[in-house]
């Protein structure tokens, strides 16, 4: 009885889906995950730079002050957020346009994404970035 009822129901509810039967290339999904990874890698690398160089730290803070309300109080963190955001969105637009008609191997690029995220996380662990910048 239970099995019969469940079979009669629609299997899955979907809020929105492209035309049924249409196969969309995996390129846009690859672009979405790679751009997220690039944005977070940027955050890690910019943070390393600010730890290593006072001049770079001041420049990064200046980037935040260009647009972010309260950036003076937030400090260089505002610039790190800004640069990470700019690379994330900028690379997403570029990669989406470049890859939207390409059916790439999502599994392979997911591995690249995971490695990149792992590196970014490690570089942002304070004992690691302090060690790398000689503090």
């Amino acid at each position: 009885m239970m099995t019969k009822l469940l079979e009669d129901e629609p299997t899955v509810e979907v809020a929105w889906t492209p035309l049924p039967g249409l196969h969309q290339e995996a390129g846009p999904a690859v672009a979405a995950i790679l751009s997220a990874m690039l944005g977070l890698m940027t955050l890690a690398l910019v943070n390393l730079g600010t730890q290593a160089s006072k001049a770079f730290n001041t420049w990064v803070h200046g980037i935040g002050k260009l647009w972010m309300p309260g950036a003076e109080g937030i400090g260089p963190y505002s610039g790190k957020e800004t640069l990470s955001l700019a690379v994330w969105i900028g690379s997403w637009v570029i990669l989406h346009l470049a890859l939207r008609h390409r059916d790439l191997s999502l599994g392979r690029w997911l591995v690249v994404f995971l490695v990149g995220i792992g590196i970014a996380t490690t570089l942002l662990w304070p004992p690691v970035f302090e060690f790398l910048t000689g503090h």
Binding site: M1, A15, W16, G75, P126, E130
Partner: protein, 201 residues
Amino acid sequence: MNGNRELVEREEASTASLALVVGLLIGVAATAVIATAPVTALIGQSRAALAAAFHGLSAFLYLIVGTIGLYLGWRLLTGRIRAFADLQLLATVSATLSLIAIIFGNWLYIFYRAKDPASPRSWFLENMPMVHKIFFEFKEFMALFTLPLTVAAAFVLWYYGAQVLDRKWMRYTVAVLLGLSFFYLVIAFGLGAAVTKLRPA
């Protein structure tokens, strides 16, 4: 017979009835709180009270939504999801709450790092430097990871729609994005709560 009951319950659990129940519960809770505690005492009286209240509230809501998203992500990973529409909406709500929590976190950060000797940052550097240098600095970066991960998950879910269900790596990708975003959320939330407990802004 169990099957009959389950089916009836599903038919009655409309979005309107859910919204009504949630609204009623919030109303009862709000009435009880307002009747028994002054709002100023509830939010706090420091200069950072409002920023801290909104940051904490948005992060807490995100934790709830993120937990449900994690479960639905697991169902998606194993290919046994029915509430795909809910996952599409939850991923979008998660991304929105992540952004809101980050914006309020930025505002709160101004008070945290104020050049006042009584500010949490000054106090930690004087008394417990490792709390700021390791816990807080790691937390402030990990919180930012949640936004691109949840946005990417929501994008894939809406762009590909039901195709996600039939494509193994698409399912894995969304599940990984939701799982990772939850991992970073828990780091940020846990460390943030610990830091606040030690020295509120």
